[in-house]
Symmetry: C3
């Protein structure tokens, strides 16, 4: 079943070892504990222990961590026999990306005497960057080898960091929950990669590109965790105090409203009024994406609910009507529909953020304006200019994502990376030890291919 090109016996160990050894060397040369993690530095000043940033960020970090590893990992287990790969490759590329992101983000966010200083905030940011890679993974799910994914992650983390640097450091854009930097970037990068990797004969694996009953329940584990912890995601790196508090609450209400509109639209667009698991698993999360930029602003729960409500509608409509068009007309095979969950809701979030920023006033924010829009508070920038820059940031993000995805897509086409053939996509057995037995019948060939008897899976 595995031919030599997809055999990972030497390729995967070589890639993993080389990457990890490079990472270890670079960490040895470049990385240092920051003030709050260093035994000497933290004790040098008369700090109280409870002022350590650990206590303000770590619970949020762990929620984000769960979203990255359980949330994204299990969300993608909906495919009937790609569960090992969904959770397992998610695990692998996330473990790599968070290390690489520590270096890349540290490099761009400003070195301290030639050193990258790290602590809980950099851990959150590394997880955020990883999230972007996992969004792109969703677009190419089932059609790539683990080596392709690692290579993609390497480039994407780098480009993510460049884009993040331009937005946050150069332009002074606000995007705490990453509607632009994480979701829009990850989605359109991934969509471009999958466009370049277009497989005209993917329908040979079509019978596996679907769910079974229990695989949909596993996927719901991912969905619910993403949904629950999204308030922590959006608030994880905002300023302390009311900012974190407000961001979490705005996101909470955005998600709740989004869930209502997702269920409504799912029933409305079905020919027999039955709910579609794909919509529930994905569209109900769009409210978190769409609150990513404006969540820390004085959006109000009212505004958050409107945003979430619209995001759910847009997302279901995308799954129902846009995804088939993208595949047929634009040759974009978007396995998880990341355009509907991260792409369009991310753009919506960016626009909402731009508008909310443009109308920010000292009257509404009081002294809190320094936390949210420091340049505006200091009089260095008009609120309307801030709004315009937010909009420009969306264009920059789209540009870097699309061009980056284009280039990386062509790199991934190199035959040496062991991509699966068109007939064995969406299939764990090609990269994982999966024993074949008489239970869980599903032929490797589509029904009517007439070759393989009904076989299933059992591990030994």
């Amino acid at each position: 079943m595995t031919d030599s090109s997809t055999n990972m016996r030497l390729k995967l160990p070589i890639v993993c070892f080389i990457l990890e050894i490079i990472l270890i060397i670079l960490f040895g040369v470049l990385v240092e504990y920051d003030h709050d993690t260093d035994a000497r530095d933290f004790h040098n000043m008369s700090h109280h222990d409870y002022e350590n940033d650990f206590y303000y960020r770590y619970p949020s970090f762990q929620d984000v961590h769960v979203m990255i590893f359980i949330g994204f990992g299990f969300l993608m287990t909906f495919l009937q026999r790609y569960g090992f790969s969904s959770v397992g490759f998610n695990f692998l590329i996330a473990a790599f990306s968070l290390q690489w992101a520590t270096l890349m983000q540290g490099f761009f966010h400003g070195m301290h005497g030639g050193k990258i200083h790290i602590g809980v905030e950099s851990m959150i940011n590394a997880d955020f960057c990883t999230g972007s890679v996992l969004i792109s993974f969703g677009a190419v799910l089932g059609k790539t080898s683990p080596i392709q994914l690692l290579i993609m992650a390497m480039f994407e983390v780098t480009l993510f960091s460049v884009n993040e640097y331009i937005l946050l450091s150069v332009l002074g854009t606000k995007d705490a929950g990453g509607s632009m930097t994480i979701h829009t970037f990850g989605a359109y990068f991934g969509l471009m990669v999958t466009r370049v990797l277009y497989r005209p004969n993917l329908d040979k694996s079509k019978h596996r590109n679907s769910s079974v009953y229990h695989s949909d329940l596993f996927a719901m584990i991912g969905t619910i965790y993403l949904w629950m912890f999204w308030p922590s995601f959006n608030s994880a790196v905002t300023a302390h105090g009311d900012d974190q508090h407000r961001t979490a609450m705005n996101t909470y209400y955005s998600l709740a409203a989004c869930t209502m509109s997702s269920y409504a639209m799912s029933a409305l667009t079905a020919h027999d009024g039955k709910l579609d698991m794909v919509h529930i698993q994905n569209a109900a999360l769009a409210g978190g994406v769409a609150a990513g930029t404006a969540g820390e602003m004085m959006l109000t729960p009212f505004g958050s609910m409107i945003v979430g409500f619209l995001a759910g509608i847009i997302s279901v409509l995308g799954y129902k009507y846009l995804t088939p068009v993208l595949e047929e007309k634009l040759k974009i095979q978007d396995t998880c529909g990341v355009n509907n969950l991260h792409g369009m809701p991310g753009i919506l979030g960016a626009i909402v953020g731009a508008v909310t920023a443009a109308v920010a006033t000292k009257d509404v924010y009081g002294e809190g304006l320094h936390d949210v829009f420091p340049l505006v508070a200091e009089g260095k920038r008009e609120a309307s200019v801030q709004g315009g820059i937010q909009a420009v940031s969306l264009a920059v993000t789209l540009g870097i994502a699309l061009i980056g995805g284009l280039i990386v897509g062509f790199i991934l086409k190199l035959p040496v990376f062991g991509a699966p053939p068109d007939t064995i996509c969406f299939e764990d057995n090609i990269y994982w030890e999966v024993m074949i037995t008489a239970a869980n019948q599903l032929p490797l060939q589509p029904p009517g291919g007439g070759v393989t008897p009904a076989v299933g899976y059992q591990c030994q």
Copy 2:
């Protein structure tokens, strides 16, 4: 398989859209950030960021949030083909309830200049109220349409808020973990609803009212999360400091003792000594319910363990001997056995709370008496009176729950809400897109019905 009355194509979108639009309008008119979430207000005073309530409540909130969406949602996936509905309807009605509860609780808990002020504590309270609705959902599980559930949630949230207002604000009752307000209320409300909705021909769906191997494992995810995070649940809204700390610890030991007695009773009551998954999934949690009122008091770990120990025994006995009687004699078809997990343990918790309150002394609580029993500490009420009022509160709760459930049950009988027929209860396929295939055999008709060939489930 779906006739016109259960078709949700228009009904569900209409209900969801109307409810959500009403919610958004009411939020726009009535809801404001509270002091700790408002950018201006929080910065107006010389607060340190670490004094923001976010840092004292948000980790508990997230634990409660997991209980509501993962805990309740997956606990109910034990049914062999009602997993989509268990997690999915749980998701829908919770998303609705938490918004509606914000308004109802805000209205009753006291408006500020005509506005409802919200923050992390109101988010926890909204989740608590939602929990009560989900308990009632457990009683009617498998026998209701999503519209019926939304209508039930709308009324139940309202009545919950009335009862909570009477107890906490009028009577000065202590019930931080909601033995009465959440568990007793939710259970007896739901039991009365399911009584009114009695289906004499439910045995036509009996073959689906059971678990399969992996559905029981999914349910254990729910159980374990509820069990682990119950200490956070009971302590989420108690006073800061020793109160939260003590409540969490009391609950931890109550649950541990309860688990021991649940296993013991499960083996003891089985004819062949084999453990019953139903008991483990449910009875082991009764210790959390029973510590809901007294958990914040000086119950001591010793007292907590006795309470949990008894709760486990009562709960297993209920599942084994009482549930069949309730169904046969009283026509109460309690799918999840909420009487055994939430009802009787809730009453036990209320009684324990009344007794513990009655013996509270300044000698034991010191200045901490102000946190737990402010009226007693201020000399406005004798401890014994507090105990009596706790007992009265149980009666009030039972009264409102039963009368409320009666009325709401009759409302839900209106044929327009699309309830499933007796032959298609406990079945996802009626409201969810579930492809039928040759795997996972289970006929829609009971064995011997002779009509349907062996068919199963596969999504596309």
Copy 3:
């Protein structure tokens, strides 16, 4: 299917009731709230609420709690029909162990006027001790009755507390994340128990000692939770401030590097380059174990990554080459391969800890040296001596674990405890109510045994 000796009808209730009643009595006599959980004591001093230890430890406690109940419980569900027992017995013995550990650790850690004082830190320590028991459970998984497990837990908790007392209190060893006290101890205790309980005819149950597709996905839930929350585990009881912060971060990077090397080694050691779920589920966690001792020290992310990298390699090699040898040559039937996940990585962690301690200097740690190595900071001990004592502690731990396991193993051989026969190991049906139906075929006899028709599982 169950003969009288394995019937738990009376045995299990008797054991559970006796144990729990003893626990309750001892708690009543010996246990008191500590300063931060007692209403009077906490209010006696002019403490701010935010200084209560609850806010510094409880989020970590809950992460540890998830590792104990979800992490360990689901990790062991990989067996195809031992899921109920894996999660369920894990639940039972953990609920018992945490109560018993509270008493044993309280007794050894120092009584206060004849009383054991408990709070969130003792809860974490009780969970830690429980973790050690669950590691041993992994070694005997599928081959023991619940009564044997409770008896084992009773003795193991006691011996764990003795060993922990010798290390932490007598020798002044540092082992915050328990590379020695938890992992090495639990692994070698369990390995010795399973050696004594050697079953020469275990291959009669060999066909059940393997996974199926979805059981491996359930196991990944356990793996990922253990992986994500290991930073909280290692940092849960370190000193506040930079210590907790640094420990969590070191562990984070150790695990990431470990995941990379685990994937590499899994592909490299497979004959066809396919990844093995056993390696991913287990070896990727070895980085957490190996950072258990040195995690709180100034190991640096660089050092942590090297440790994790090596741990992953050692662990996969252990699964691939050592486990079969242990079984064939040494008659150690290690179901979960705890030697590879906890044993060898624990020893590695102890050695790394000894070396890191030996090179600790005031120059590197500054005033923080008091937190990490108080005896060295106070000039009572040279750093090199501390390193030597760390190494001695490993030997002490191994000694107590092996001798303890030997004795307890022989106790568990008493026929009265209802161990399963060789033909019905790795099987839920012997202790759990599991309905047999035509789905999920797997014969109780091995294929070719010729007796049992293809039957499966369905609960009612």
